[in-house]
């Protein structure tokens, strides 16, 4: 694909992302007009607006954007590797594993850094479980993999219920909200961005190898791709992205499913375009979804996971119906 055809969609998605951020900063209990927002962003404006935009809304919007980008990229990567548009970190139980890791750390009263590390370990354990078990002795059939993922996700669900039952009552509301995927407590977007940007840069040179891998492992090997290291490397990366997303916002589902699917319909199947586009569109999508979640029934704040699930479940069912 010529470079020109890739630049225009990416530029438009970047613009869309910037708009989504602006909307998210402007909308809320106190509405801020575009000129006022511009003033605040350039260092002016009233003290109230400064406080609202820079201290309250910006960290949350930046967290939402990074989380959406991480999840959409993780989904896009898994879909290519499994050659199945239904693969998604949430559906495959990777988010569930990360959630168990994080909840255990929270139950033990650990600090935020430990919760993050624990979530990543949970995501990795889940990945190894899902891919190891469904690999078995034969090749990775995608049906077996999806089924294994779904069953493992159900297993994590039971473990989560167990942890909740064991937790002291005063911790429960926070845990529950976080389980549904919630950005209300997301105050530090730095880690998510620190993982997102290098991951994206790392993906660009190997995206063409992923295009080849999408033709099947044998064909990829015949075309000079080192299939095993590439596959495991990308699975590891997808787990890392999921783990970081889960520690930032809890288990937000279906972003990794909806966003890459829509993009493939519009832009085709070249991973060199789809991966960065997924990051931009996923970020914009979750930023808007979170704005909707906190303003739709204000002053009640909904967890953003509710919005993504309401959009994601029909998309998943539609894809499943069409794929036969």
């Amino acid at each position: 694909m010529p470079a020109v055809r890739a630049t225009l969609p990416l530029a438009m998605l970047a613009l869309f992302g910037a708009l989504a951020m602006a909307v998210s900063l402007a909308i809320g209990s106190v509405a801020i007009s575009p000129p006022e927002l511009w003033l605040v962003l350039t260092g002016g404006g009233s003290e109230l607006h400064q406080e609202l935009v820079l201290s309250l809304r910006a960290p949350r919007a930046l967290s939402a954007f990074a989380t959406g980008a991480l999840l959409a990229m993780a989904g896009a990567l898994m879909q290519v590797l499994l050659r199945n548009p239904l693969a998604d970190p949430y559906v495959l139980g990777i988010s569930g594993g990360a959630a168990v890791g994080a909840l255990l750390a929270m139950l033990l009263g650990a600090g935020m850094a430990l919760v993050s590390g624990s979530a990543f370990v949970g995501a990795m354990v889940s990945t190894v479980l899902v891919f190891g078990l469904s690999h078995g002795r034969g090749s990775w059939t995608t049906t077996r993999l999806l089924l294994t993922g779904v069953v493992i996700a159900a297993g994590w669900g039971a473990v989560i219920t167990f942890i909740l039952a064991m937790s002291p009552a005063e911790r429960l509301p926070g845990m529950l909200y976080w389980l549904m995927g919630d950005l209300s407590y997301a105050r530090s977007p730095e880690i998510a961005w620190l993982v997102l940007v290098p991951a994206l840069l790392l993906m660009l040179p190997i995206a063409r190898s992923l295009n080849v891998l999408a033709r099947g492992p044998m064909q990829a090997a015949a075309l000079g791709v080192s299939v095993r290291p590439l596959s495991w490397g990308v699975y590891g990366l997808a787990s890392l992205l999921t783990g970081v997303a889960v520690t930032t916002a809890g288990s937000v589902g279906f972003v990794g499913l909806i966003v890459p699917h829509m993009l493939r319909l519009a832009l085709g199947n070249d991973q060199r375009l789809i991966l960065p586009a997924s990051a931009l569109a996923g970020g914009a999508f979750l930023t808007l979804a979170d704005t909707l979640a906190r303003s739709m029934m204000a002053p009640v704040q909904l967890p953003v996971g509710v919005i993504t699930a309401l959009l994601g479940v029909p998309t998943f069912l539609y894809l499943l119906y069409r794929s036969r």
Binding site: N84, A214, Q219, A221, A222, L223, G224, V225, S226, R264
Partner: protein
């Protein structure tokens, strides 16, 4: 031009005794036809020669270097493989799929250039796929997908072709077109090694025949020597009648 050589090779097929090791060279310009009944191990042999399956013993050399000492990309610039079975792939158009044959030639940051696009267009033309250029693979028939696989290998510009049933799913016209193309490749210095179900296609298009018996026994030589009705009857466990058309033997099962 390249030479693929099997040295004392024993293909690893679970539950089968070693049998006699296979040593042979596929030289530039040669067209090998591999014949044998179902399950004899033709595909396993082909995958072993391609370096995609580890042999039980012995080794495969590409231009005098053992395959396992070469990087996958280096192998892919010389060896083109057409698989018999293709797993369900992720959505891609015919053009995207054919262009992917250039992968081993492009560096990490490089994009396909106009030369690569031209090669892909020529390959699609050679396999009458031009009109299907923008169609998604999933919407194609088996024969059309077979032609996409051959076009992808053609774009790879291999010095050695390893093709597993390249005429599978193809109608008569396209069978001949594909075999002519492989003949042309051989005339330009490529070595061609293909498994074939159809004895008569092998008789017509191959200058070397390799017979794979169900017990793993291998037997090979020039076509004129190998294509004896008695040997073929034993190979397939089937009585045959021979007729001659334009001095080429035609085998008809009785």
């Amino acid at each position: 031009m390249s030479i693929l050589e099997a040295q004392e090779l024993i293909v690893d097929i679970p539950g089968r005794a070693d049998g006699a090791p296979f040593s042979a060279k596929i030289l530039p310009g040669q067209r090998w036809g591999v014949l044998g009944p179902n399950g004899a191990g033709k595909t396993s042999l082909l995958l072993t020669l391609a370096g995609l399956k580890t042999p039980r013993s012995g080794r495969v050399l590409l231009d005098d270097v053992p395959l396992h000492r070469l990087r996958p990309r280096e192998i892919a610039r010389k060896l083109g493989i057409v698989f018999q079975e293709r797993p369900e792939s992720f959505p891609a158009t015919v053009f995207e799929s054919v262009l992917i044959g250039r992968h081993p030639y492009l560096s990490f940051w490089q994009r396909e250039g106009s030369d690569d696009v031209r090669l892909a267009e020529e390959a699609m033309h050679a396999l009458s796929l031009t009109l299907l250029k923008d169609r998604l693979l999933q919407t194609l028939s088996g024969g059309e997908r077979q032609r996409v696989a051959i076009a992808t290998a053609l774009v790879q510009q291999p010095a050695i072709w390893l093709a597993d049933e390249p005429t599978n799913h193809l109608d008569l016209h396209h069978q001949v077109a594909v075999l002519k193309l492989l003949q042309q490749q051989a005339a330009q210095g490529a070595g061609v090694f293909m498994c074939l179900h159809d004895l008569n296609l092998a008789a017509r298009w191959c200058d070397h025949i390799l017979m794979v018996y169900p017990e793993g026994e291998l037997c090979f030589g020039p076509s004129s020597v190998m294509l004896q009705p008695e040997a073929l009857e034993r190979l397939y466990n089937q009585k045959l009648t021979v007729a001659y058309v334009d001095d080429v033997p035609v085998f008809v099962p009785e």
